[in-house]
Symmetry: C2
Subunit: 360 residues, 2 copies
């Protein structure tokens, strides 16, 4: 396999492969698309159709083309825009890879906002309108793609995502699935980046009006937002309802906690407990840890809240809490992005269907 | 004083007075405007310029005209629309009262979203552009008008508002003022209608995904929203970001608590504690209860969360909690609406300025 290395969007290393995927695949040009559709952005990668065995994947993974677009969560931007964004990002990734639409064998979308079979069906119908009939199309919650990014496309274990929002999603070996949290700010995703930052803002207001203890968060948050008084926070929160804008304050909270602030430490410790409870709900439902809780299973950690902090390491503290209950749980920090996870899922789903139908 | 009784907007009793306000007031036709500008609606009343002494006010109060418009919170609808709404509602109330703009002597606006002197100055400037120079104009947070509605325009004591949002606002006898909460949902007004209902929705999702105990709230809330599964709540909350739509679920929570549901009872008990803490922060800052906490002061209760429930009476439980700390505190449930409170404030502010200038 010879490669020519390019660097494309977002500084991500992109490899252009001459495809020799082996005897499983007769057509050298066949590709799959994997899409990670989050609340902030949508990423699509185009990869060759791989037969992944024994979790083996070339490092770096064979990404033929990669494209980025805006939000594709139909709950946030409406159906028409969500659909247009998805189509556009897939066509751009294909075009960058040099492959034609006719080369696509399978597409897997991991999209936030897929919370109900109705959501899944609607997006499947969009995909069936975009691609020829023979193309295999799969739609999952974006958490499933994130799990696959840590498990090389194998759906077993539990993923915990804590970025702007938070969700835990898991699969048992026999294909049962379960989720917890992932409802957004109104529905109390308190371990998320939004949850942590909203708690911090609340604590600043409480310290200011006498309901709560003084905290370093006041000066640090006001400074980072260029405001002069906590009274101005009300106007600031109203000015833009975006959760990502609130969640962007997480590093300030972590920094105050590292400097020993009691309020900031309490917020982060509560977030750790909340995230651990979220994973436990999924593990319990699926019986992932076995009858005596000692069974081995991966916990895939994804999202800035879990991965960006070196000193006050939220992800590590969640793992430490979980391992007390589940000594066989082991953390996985994915080396590839969720869009690649979605592409690997596309390969695996495709191969499984072909095997089932006796084609391979 | 002869009256002709009409019934106007909202079924409110409206009286048309031949004004004989006594020797304090030379011009029989002089009027004041009082405005209550909330997040849901804006109400303006036109009243004769009264000299209120010894908390004496005709019952029912002499309302000459009353008008209702939409939201005038500049944080929610932007400055232009907020200003237009305020001007429109004042002109409509004037027109209904049969008085001319030139008859207006004083205007008091109690507007939500006034959280900073800058907000106050901006709205004062709008009023100065709308009315002739001699008209006295006053701008306050809407909580101040609500306090005045319970105290006949005297600014002493603490008001607690819990409707869609929540806030406590108080004045000491010597004119110091303080507030607590009132920051909206991001900033943690957890005792508010929004806070109670958002907690209830969160508990339904937690019960569904295994993070929390089962609760009657699940069936009752799904039934009231005509949904078939808790998974559908995510789409429902995203579909419309209005807090009032969430807060409208409070009666369902109260009903489940009355039926003995543990989760609903815990939510309401926590709301009671949260609201009591909010009042305590204001009482403490102003020293309203005196050195030994036994001083007498009114706690004015306003808003559907505090006043609409007969069995599980949130307002009464807040008062019971507060009286344990402040035996001299006494609850006041206003008989007039906050817009009338604003009009009474306009009268009082005007008379005080005239007295100060030696005119009266």
């Amino acid at each position: 396999m010879s490669t020519t290395k390019n660097t494309q969007n977002g500084g991500v290393s992109v490899d252009r492969y001459d495809l020799h995927i082996g005897s499983d695949c007769n057509d050298e040009k066949t590709v799959v698309l994997g899409v990670d559709g989050g609340t902030t952005s949508t990423i699509c990668v185009c990869m060759p159709l791989l037969h992944i065995s024994n979790n083996h994947l070339p490092d770096p993974p064979p990404i033929l083309g990669r494209a980025i677009a805006g939000c594709s969560n139909h709950n946030s931007v409406g159906e028409t825009l969500a659909r247009d964004t998805l189509e556009q990002v897939m066509m751009e990734a294909l075009s960058k890879s040099g492959a034609k639409k006719s080369a696509v064998e399978a597409v897997c979308l991991g999209v936030s906002g897929v919370n109900h079979p109705n959501d899944q069906d609607r997006i499947l119908n969009w995909l069936r309108e975009i691609f020829p009939k023979h193309v295999k199309v799969y739609v999952q919650n974006d958490a499933v793609a994130a799990l696959a990014s840590g498990s090389m496309g194998k759906l077993h274990g539990c993923v915990l995502i804590a970025g702007t929002g938070s969700i835990a999603y898991g699969f048992s070996e026999d294909g049962k699935e379960a989720r917890a949290a992932g409802g957004g700010p109104v529905l109390g995703d308190w371990g998320s980046g939004y949850g942590i930052a909203a708690q911090a803002l609340t604590c600043v207001v409480r310290a200011h009006d006498g309901r709560g203890p003084q905290t370093m968060l006041t000066n640090c948050i006001l400074k980072s937002l260029n405001l002069s008084s906590p009274d101005e926070l009300i106007g600031w929160t109203y000015a833009d309802p975006s959760w990502a804008r609130i969640a962007a304050l997480v590093p300030v909270v972590v920094s105050c906690a590292e400097d020993g602030d009691g309020v900031a430490n309490q917020i982060l410790n509560e977030a750790v407990q909340e995230l651990a409870v979220t994973v436990k709900a999924v593990v319990h439902k699926l019986g992932l840890s076995g009858a005596d809780n000692s069974g081995e299973f991966p916990i895939v950690l994804v999202g800035g809240v879990l991965t960006d902090n070196k000193n006050w390491d939220i992800g590590q503290k969640v793992v430490n809490t979980l391992i007390k209950t589940y000594p066989g749980a082991f953390p996985v920090r994915p080396k590839v992005e969720p869009a690649v996870g979605a592409a690997l899922l596309a390969c695996n789903f495709y191969m499984k269907e072909k095997e089932k139908n006796g084609v391979l």
